[in-house]
C-alpha cells in the first residue's frame, strides 16, 4: 500500500459563516476519515511522538486501535495517561510537540495526532451520552484527603490522577463555575463549554468533590486546609493578573484586558446580553494588542460579537508571533486585519471617557534579545492614529498573588510565581504547585503535565518516599 503523504483534512465551518457564530470551527473526522488518517501512522519502533508529548500518551497505540476500529481499546489506551482528551485534542499545540517529531513528517505531513485524539475523545463523549460510561478502575481507598486549589487543567489532571490512586479529592474553585481557563478563557468556538462540562462531570462520577465560590487564600488559607485534615494540597491557580503596557489612556472605558473581555464573554455569557446580565461593549472597530493565542481568541471573539474591523496590533513580524499557526490562519481566514511591526503608544478618549483612537508607532526588527527573538525598535516619526471603539490588551499575565500573600513561608520568584522543585513540591511541607502559577502563562497541556507530575509526587510524599 502506498503512503498517503498529505494529512486527511478535517472539515471546518467556512470563514464567512463561522465569523458570525460561536459554534466550533473544526467539525471533526468521520469514521472513514479517521481510519484513513490512522493508516498513515507508520507504527515506528522509535515513537518520538510519545517523547514529544508532555504527558507521554501511547500515541502509536491509540492510533493503531483507531485503524482497527477498536475504539474502546483506543480510549482505554488514551485514558491511561490522559483523562481529558476531548480538551487536549482541541487545544494542544501538537505541531510543536508530538507532531513536530513524527517520522512521517520527513516524507510528507506528520500524522494528525491531535485530530485523531479529538476523534476518539468525541466518540467516547457520544458513548457516555448514551449511558455507556467507562469508569477507569480506582485503587483501594487510601483514606487520605487531598485538596486541589483551582479547577483549571492542572488541578483537574492532578485530581483525576489522585482519585485513581485511591485518594479522596476535593477541588476548591473561586469562581461559580469549574474549569478555570478552559471555561473563562478559551472561547466556545475553539473549545465548546459543553465538552468542558462533560469532562468535569466524568471527574464527578469518579468521586471528585467540588467546592465552588471558594477562593483559597480568602475563604480559607492553605494552612486551614491542613488543619481541616487534608494530607496534601495542590496549588494550580493559574496566571492571575493581566499585564498592561502602562501607556497613557489605558484605563479609558472600552479598553479591556483579554482576561476581562474573554471572562465577560465566555464565563458570563455577555454575548447573550441582555438575556444574560453581564454587559460588554460592542463596536465596529476593535484593536487587539498582542500576538499570542489569547490575542487570536480575543480578535475572533470581537468579530463574532459584531465588529466590522478587528485590527491585530503586534510589535514584531508574523514569524515571531507566539500563537499557534492554526489559530493565526483561522484569524486571517476570518478577516482579522494584522498590523504587524506596530506598537500602541497611547489611547485617546472622548468626552465620556471612552476610547476613540489609538496612536501607534511603526517598528523594525533589530538584534536578537534574551528570548532569541529579534528585538522590535520604534521607527522615528512613524506615528499614526487608528479610530477604534474598543481595545483588548492581550500581552500576558502575571501570577495571582492571593495565595502567596496569605501563605507563610511559601517561596515565590521574581515575578511572583510559586517556586517548586523537580517534583512540584513548594517550600511549604505537603504543598505542591503546578501550571501557570509556577511557569507563567503557558499551554493547557503543560499545565496538565505539571498536574500529573504533582499527583505522582503527592503519592510518593504520602507513602514516605519523598520527604
Amino acid at each position: 500500500m502506498s503512503i498517503i503523504k498529505e494529512q486527511i483534512p478535517m472539515k471546518e465551518q467556512l470563514p464567512q459563516e463561522r465569523k458570525k457564530n460561536f459554534y466550533e470551527v473544526p467539525l471533526g473526522y468521520t469514521k472513514e476519515e479517521a481510519i484513513l488518517e490512522a493508516t498513515r501512522c507508520l507504527q515506528c519502533p522509535t515513537h518520538p511522538c510519545i517523547d514529544g508529548c508532555p504527558v507521554h500518551i501511547d500515541i502509536p497505540g491509540f492510533i493503531k486501535a483507531i485503524k482497527e476500529d477498536n475504539l474502546s481499546l483506543s480510549i482505554e489506551i488514551m485514558h491511561d495517561t490522559n483523562l481529558l482528551p476531548a480538551i487536549t485534542g482541541r487545544v494542544c499545540p501538537q505541531e510543536e510537540q508530538c507532531q513536530v517529531v513524527c517520522v512521517m513528517g520527513k516524507v510528507g505531513d506528520p500524522v494528525a495526532i491531535g485530530k485523531l485524539e479529538r476523534y476518539i475523545a468525541d466518540w467516547e463523549l457520544e458513548n457516555r451520552s448514551r449511558g455507556n460510561i467507562n469508569i477507569p478502575k480506582k485503587k483501594e481507598s487510601k483514606n487520605k484527603k487531598i485538596a486541589i486549589v483551582g479547577s483549571g487543567p492542572a488541578g483537574l489532571t492532578c485530581a483525576v490522577n489522585l482519585i485513581k490512586m485511591g485518594y479522596e479529592v476535593t477541588i476548591f474553585e473561586g469562581f461559580h463555575e469549574l474549569g478555570g481557563v478552559l471555561t473563562y478563557g478559551i472561547p466556545e468556538f475553539r473549545l465548546p463549554k459543553k465538552i468542558v462540562k462533560e469532562e468535569i462531570e466524568f471527574l464527578n462520577k469518579l468521586g471528585v468533590k467540588f467546592n465552588l465560590d471558594f477562593p483559597i487564600g480568602r475563604s480559607e488559607t492553605i494552612s486551614d486546609l491542613f488543619k481541616d485534615g487534608y494530607s496534601a494540597v495542590f496549588i494550580g491557580t493559574g496566571a492571575g493578573a493581566p499585564q498592561f503596557m502602562h501607556i497613557p489612556g489605558e484605563n479609558l472605558g472600552g479598553i479591556y484586558s483579554a482576561n476581562e473581555y474573554l471572562t465577560r464573554v465566555n464565563l458570563m455569557k455577555a454575548y447573550k446580553f441582555p438575556d444574560y446580565d453581564t454587559p460588554i461593549k460592542v463596536g465596529k472597530r476593535v484593536a487587539v494588542i498582542g500576538g499570542g493565542n489569547v490575542a487570536m481568541d480575543s480578535a475572533r471573539t470581537a468579530l463574532r460579537l459584531g465588529a466590522e474591523h478587528v485590527f491585530l496590533i503586534y510589535r514584531r513580524s508574523r514569524t515571531e508571533m507566539p500563537a499557534r499557526e492554526e489559530e493565526i490562519i483561522h484569524a486571517e481566514e476570518e478577516g482579522i486585519e494584522f498590523m504587524l511591526l506596530t506598537n500602541p503608544i497611547r489611547y485617546i478618549g472622548n468626552e465620556n471617557g471612552l476610547v476613540k483612537q489609538v496612536e501607534c508607532i511603526k517598528m523594525k526588527l533589530g538584534e536578537e534579545d534574551a528570548s532569541g527573538r529579534r528585538r522590535p525598535i520604534p521607527i522615528e516619526s512613524s506615528e499614526f492614529l487608528i479610530d477604534i471603539e474598543q481595545a483588548i490588551v492581550a500581552i500576558g499575565t502575571t501570577p495571582n498573588p492571593i495565595i502567596s500573600k496569605t501563605t507563610q513561608d511559601l517561596k515565590t520568584g521574581r515575578h511572583g510565581e510559586i517556586l517548586v522543585d523537580e517534583n512540584g513540591q513548594t517550600s511549604v511541607k505537603g504543598a505542591f504547585a503546578g501550571g501557570d502559577i509556577v511557569t507563567g502563562a503557558a499551554t493547557v497541556i503543560t499545565a496538565m503535565g505539571a498536574g500529573g507530575l504533582a499527583a505522582s509526587s503527592i503519592n510518593r510524599y504520602l507513602s514516605g518516599e519523598l520527604k
Binding site: G174, F175, H176, N211, L212, D213, F214, P215, R218, S219, E220, T221, D224, G238, G240, A241, P242, F244, H246, E250, N251, L252, G253, G254, Y256, S257, N259, E260, T263, R264, M268, K269, K272, F273, P274, D275, Y276, D277, T278, P279, K281, N352, G353, L354, T397, N400, P401, I402
Partner: protein, 277 residues
C-alpha cells in the same frame, strides 16, 4: 445556594439582607466585600460587608435598588436563596490605634462603615462618625453607629433631619474646630469621597477611601476594577478596595463607573417592561 436568613427594608429602595455564608465568615474582616450572583444568568456584583456574625456564620449586606440586578436581588424574600456568594474578598481595612479617627459615610455607604467604626473603637480610638442621607426617610443605622462611636454627627441634603447639607459641610466645620484628627475614613458615592478627599488634602490628614469600582472576578485576574492610584494602575479588588484617597484619580473612577450606563439602562428598562413593573 445561600439562604437569606433575614431581610429588612431600611428606607426607600434600601434593603438589608443577612445571608448564611459559612465560607465568608471564617475570615471576614471590616473593609472586605463579597461578590454575589442572583441567578444563572446574573452578573457578578461586589457588595461591601456591612456586618457579620462569625458564630452564626452570617454576613449582612445593605444595598440600594438602582438597576436590574439590585432589583432582582431585592425581590428575593426572606428564607429565599441567592445562587452564588463568594468571599471574603479584598484587603481588610488597616485598623490600629491611630488616635482620633473621623469616619464619613454617605447613603448606602453608611452600612459598610459600621464594622470599621466598631473595630476602630475596640482598638481604643476616639471615633467621630459623620453620616449623611438624602432625606429623613432615608436615615438608617443611626443608633447602631452611635453605639460604637464617641460622637455622631448627621446630615440630610434637604435638612429634614440633622444638619442641612452634606457630610462635607459637617467635616469642614469639624476641621475648623481645630481638634487634632489623625485619620479620616470615607465610604459612599465616588463624588462624595472625592469631596472629602479634597478637603482633607488641604489639611494634610491621611484619608482612606473604600472604592466602589465595577468588578467581574473580584480575585485579581480580570482587571475590570483597575484604577490609577498615585500614578500606578492598581486593582481595586485585590490591592484595595481601600486606598489612600489623596492618591486616587476620582475622575477616572467616576468615568469608569459610567462605562456601561447605557447598557445598564437598556437592560433595566427591558426588564421592567417584561416584568410589568
Amino acid at each position: 445556594m445561600f439562604k437569606i436568613t433575614k431581610k429588612q427594608k431600611l428606607g426607600p429602595e434600601m434593603v438589608l439582607m443577612e445571608i448564611n455564608a459559612p465560607q465568608v465568615t471564617k475570615h471576614v474582616q471590616p473593609g472586605q466585600f463579597i461578590i454575589l450572583r442572583v441567578n444563572e444568568k446574573g452578573e457578578r456584583i461586589p457588595l461591601t460587608v456591612a456586618d457579620f456574625d462569625s458564630e452564626k456564620r452570617r454576613v449582612t449586606i445593605v444595598f440600594q435598588k438602582v438597576g436590574k440586578t439590585t432589583y432582582l436581588l431585592g425581590s428575593i424574600p426572606e428564607g429565599g436563596s441567592i445562587l452564588d456568594v463568594t468571599g471574603p474578598l479584598g484587603t481588610p481595612s488597616e485598623i490600629s490605634k491611630f488616635g482620633t479617627v473621623v469616619c464619613v459615610g454617605g447613603g448606602v455607604g453608611v452600612a459598610p462603615i459600621y464594622p470599621i467604626v466598631k473595630k476602630l473603637k475596640s482598638e481604643g480610638n476616639e471615633v467621630i462618625s459623620i453620616i449623611g442621607y438624602r432625606s429623613k426617610n432615608y436615615v438608617f443605622w443611626e443608633e447602631k453607629i452611635k453605639n460604637v462611636s464617641d460622637k455622631l454627627l448627621i446630615a440630610t441634603n434637604d435638612g429634614t433631619y440633622g444638619e442641612k447639607g452634606f457630610v462635607t459641610d459637617i467635616l469642614i466645620k469639624l476641621l475648623e474646630s481645630n481638634i487634632k484628627i489623625d485619620r479620616v475614613i470615607t465610604i459612599g458615592p465616588a463624588i462624595m469621597m472625592k469631596a472629602v478627599s479634597d478637603i482633607t488634602k488641604l489639611k494634610k490628614i491621611k484619608t482612606i477611601a473604600s472604592l466602589n469600582a465595577l468588578m467581574v472576578c473580584g480575585m485579581g485576574m480580570c482587571g475590570t476594577c483597575r484604577l490609577t492610584i498615585g500614578g500606578e494602575t492598581k486593582l481595586s479588588c485585590s490591592d484595595g478596595p481601600e486606598f489612600d484617597a489623596h492618591l486616587v484619580d476620582f475622575n477616572e473612577l467616576m468615568e469608569r463607573l459610567n462605562v456601561y450606563k447605557e447598557e445598564e439602562k437598556y437592560a433595566f428598562e427591558k426588564w421592567k417592561t417584561e416584568a410589568k413593573i
